[in-house]
Amino acid sequence: MNRNEDTKTIVRTFFAWQEEKEEKWLSKMSKEGWHLCRVGFFNYRFKKGSPSDMIYKFDFKVIMGKSEMKDYIMMFKDSGWEHIGNFGSWFYFRTAAEGDHSLELYSDNRSKIEKYRRLLLVLGIISFPVIFFSLPNLYMRIIDMAADSVLNNPIVFNIYLPFVILLTIVELVVIYAVIRILLIIRKLRKDIRQ
């Protein structure tokens, strides 16, 4: 998949609850001299350079409008964090592991919890209607079709059923993600520091 000697693209994505693991993986890539230079749609592009010790951190933020985006990126840049790109509402930042600045995007637990609450809110808005309206509806139809014995119809069998199964799997992953994020929040709340 190499475009040429100096860059390479890797198809990859991460689950919300594996954020830290992903950040560490990107650090490891930098140590090997491959520095993330573009965040694409389910893929990353890396550029070959000299190996260095970098810290990667992701922020989750819904940004409205260009001027808000400018203010947001500038604040991170000012505190020594380079903005590499974003995948949806996940923003990728990088900084040198040694430096005279904050090595965390979030310096207290209160604001860390706020970040995960935003993530929960977005997951909820996206999946609530699907889980409580679309999926029950789709299953009701399957039951109806089974009663009418039209399940063998090739369109139903090859398109409709796989679609419903896929959607169910996606929503199960979302539910799992919500549970993992709730556990992260719980752990943060138990920490008596604010």
Partner: protein, 114 residues
């Protein structure tokens, strides 16, 4: 009475919020706040950009600070914030609260002979 209710909605402030608020007794942009808080706390508090960005929007929403429209930092075009009257009032309330805590902690430590 109503004002006390309004203040209680935001007190006690977190350490970061308190420092950001007192830093804004003089108008500053985000990066200026970071530097000032670090100096004031003698390097103990280094605000992360995510924490500061979130805190500023929460403080604006609570009407404790306001972005000064049209008064951007001339060189960098960064947004400049300043404290409101309500913000100053809240600081006054927090000072009394913190003084009470300090007084009691010192008193009880003394009673224990330490």
């Amino acid at each position: 009475m109503n004002q006390i209710k309004r203040i209680n909605k935001y007190s006690p402030l977190t350490e970061s919020m308190f420092y950001i608020l007192i830093a804004l007794l003089m108008p500053l942009h985000g990066y200026g706040i970071m530097q000032k808080v670090e100096i004031l706390s003698e390097g103990r508090i280094r605000l992360g950009p995510g924490t500061l960005y979130g805190a500023l929007s929460n403080l604006v929403e609570a009407k404790l600070i306001i972005p000064e429209d049209g008064r951007q930092d001339p060189g960098s075009r960064r947004k400049v914030y300043s404290i409101t009257e309500f913000g100053i009032e809240l600081i006054g309330y927090e000072i009394k609260r913190l003084e009470e805590m300090l007084k009691n902690a010192k008193l009880l430590l003394k009673e224990r002979g330490q």
